[in-house]
Symmetry: C2
Subunit: 428 residues, 2 copies
């Protein structure tokens, strides 16, 4: 028993769990009222569906009978109507690809944001020392879950079509050679307008990844899952959509698909969902029974009604236009103010622009760039936070995630101008 | 690596987590529409505050500015106004006992029901093999959390003033003698109108338990916490209230206090809270950041407004009268229909009557009593489910938990009549 245990009584997990970067980013924002935050993944405040929500809740609570069912406990798996509608919607989004049985509502459960599903899947699959493959870079809050559970990460490179399959194969092969493959449990992919890069993984790459995982299952001794986080799927600016990994036919039996209504409707509602194969589904259902035995019925029924009345769909159309405009504004500002050595892509959806400076221009939390940006009252997410520790490479430290989600049009314009000044000065 | 791991890839926790008894009790209820359930811990449907909630949400969503803040992400710790009001309320309930600093809002965080707090505290403190002391009997969903985390339980006897302190002391002493004390992390107590027995723990017993725990800390090598679950505190039928363990002066530094707005206001909202000492507070805050980085802002602001406008307090007064009436009805039915060999207490609050048959009359899930009750379409919670496995005693199997919460007045009357018939027949 070591000293800190003697003093604190904390568990292994309790001691491992570090402060998430998001908390000091948020604290910085709160402490400095003049700060322009291009860091937060908040959604656009002015676009939040206040009137729609008021109408929906008024309808739900108008009759005592219906209102009572809204204010009573639900079940652990979630509201039947919302599960049904969500499953049908996923099936329609993927059509004509995919087998109907994959989208059965009995394979879907509702969670408190998709974050809770990521947490519970990790609990259900991973023991300390296990390995999770993640994109390089990836969603930094998921890295916190991994760290908390004592997991090791391996970063899989991505390009503008998503996962680099040859690199995934080399990584799996190297894990097989060293005997570490039995510790691998899943590959986590943010497949639509990725957080942080804004990139999408093509359907072919998803199928290719599933085939590679299947190939290595024999050596692993158990299933290797693809966990597809589709949080930003509905935030594409153009209509075209890529089928989800659930559409991968027989390979769908290895797909964990997570989604959310937070980003496309209201982050204040916190309703997410997941589609899972057995026996993982049952394990996660039981864990959810211990976490909270069901997400708030009130917010679930709000979402079910938003979908049923078409208000969700109408809101989403308006929201896409709004984000497209904000993304365009941020891209125009990057063109005007960033030095040409800083590379970035025009976003096609989601909430983020990922900008890469030359490797010599550090952007990390201890860098001159981050400090000077703060001096000018502008905040970004340092790219280094989005990389898992991986013994096979050092963490890149010359990138930044810029969000056009929460900031106003004026704040985006001014924030990018200030950041451009910092980058230009440091590039000379 | 065993066979099931090879097949399933599930973690230790994933494999340990069993189906909670609540899920088959609920399934039974859904499958048998004629069944009268005296098992569910549901709240009284007719009393749910539909009109109040409609008004509160209308007020919150009337102006776009306020509405937007309701529909945006909040912080991991919860809405500042709700934390402030909850902390103040706890302080007022305990007054004049307690030190003001114990009730500072900075020590309080908001969770998705108090269940989530019980889960996160367990994660933060306990490793597999650790020991949790619980009441004998206790809240069976907490036993599920313990089982899932691979924990051992020790049952501490209770009487009509709560914890049996001499038995607690003998248990701690025996754990010290066998060298197991370093594995003990906390004592979990449902201190008000306990689930399942309806009993309250007196303030003197809480202080006595805290003193005993403090005494054994040296041998444990770390703090020993008292986790006080006050879920039913506000559901007392008479006005008088016992101060919480937070009022225990300097000993409050070892108190984890959990409460909820689910039972006293709306189970469909799922808003709970916890007051915790450091470093546990920070550990739980970080874990919450990984679980969901904050409970739905919408339901939090609903509760904050219910408290601020006095609607919460008015609802609670009406609710207490309603439950007092239902409890009285159930007690009258027990007097009329139960054989005199079945012992129970007149409830003074909460949602439950705990009835004990003679030890020879088994009530467990495989008993004739349970089967015959189901044949007559009435369901109760078998008492055996409320006992932790404990090597020092066998599980009592002759009790039942009867809830007057969810059932209608007519269903209580008829359900008790049927159950009385079953018990009378088996007693002859």
């Amino acid at each position: 028993m070591n000293r800190s245990r003697q003093q604190h009584a904390l568990s292994e997990l309790g001691r491992r769990t570090t402060a998430p970067p998001i908390s000091w980013l948020m604290r910085l924002t709160l402490e400095r009222p003049r700060l322009i935050s291009l860091a937060a993944g908040f959604t656009d405040r002015a676009s939040l569906p206040v009137a729609e929500t008021r109408e929906l809740l008024e309808e739900l609570l108008r009759s005592p009978r219906r209102g009572q069912s809204v204010l009573q406990y639900g079940t652990t798996l979630g509201d039947a109507r919302l599960r049904e509608r969500t499953a049908r919607r996923l099936c329609e989004l993927d059509a004509p690809a995919g087998r109907p049985e994959t989208y059965d509502a009995s394979r879907l459960l509702i969670t408190s944001g998709s974050q809770q599903l990521l947490y519970m899947v990790t609990e259900a699959l991973c023991d300390p020392g296990d390995i999770v493959l993640v994109e390089d870079p990836t969603y930094f809050v998921y890295l916190g879950i991994m760290q908390s559970h004592g997991l090791q990460g391996r970063g899989i490179r991505i390009d503008d079509r998503g996962l680099d399959l040859p690199h995934l194969e080399r990584t799996l092969e190297s894990l097989r050679r060293t005997g570490a493959l039995p510790r691998v449990k899943l590959l986590y992919v943010v497949s639509y307008f990725q957080n942080p890069t804004g990139l999408c993984t093509s359907f072919e790459r998803k199928v290719g990844a599933l085939e590679l995982l299947r190939h290595y299952e024999r050596a692993a001794g158990h299933p290797l899952y693809l966990m597809e986080d589709a949080a930003y799927r509905e935030l594409g600016f153009a209509g075209a959509d890529i089928p989800s990994a659930l559409a991968a036919g027989r390979l769908a039996g290895r797909v964990i698909h997570t989604g959310t209504y937070s980003k496309p409707f209201a982050t204040g509602a916190r309703v997410g969902f997941g589609v899972l194969p057995q026996p993982l589904f049952t394990a996660v259902e039981r864990i959810k029974g211990n976490h909270d035995f069901g997400t708030s019925n009130l917010v679930q029924q709000l979402l079910a009604s938003a979908l049923a009345t078409g208000r969700y769909q109408r809101h989403l159309s308006a929201l896409r236009l709004r984000y497209a405009r904000k993304a365009g504004l941020m891209a125009a500002a990057a063109r005007s103010h960033f030095p040409p050595t800083v590379r970035w892509r025009e976003p096609t959806g989601g909430l983020y622009i990922w900008a890469g400076a030359p490797p010599s221009l550090k952007t990390g939390v201890r860098s001159a760039c981050f400090r000077k940006a703060l001096q000018r009252e502008v905040l970004y997410v340092p790219g280094e936070l989005c990389y898992t520790p991986d013994p096979s490479r050092s963490k890149p430290n010359h990138e930044m995630r810029l969000s056009f989600g929460g900031a106003s049009l004026g704040a985006i314009r001014e924030g990018m101008r200030r950041l451009g000044r910092v980058l230009t000065n440091l590039s000379q």
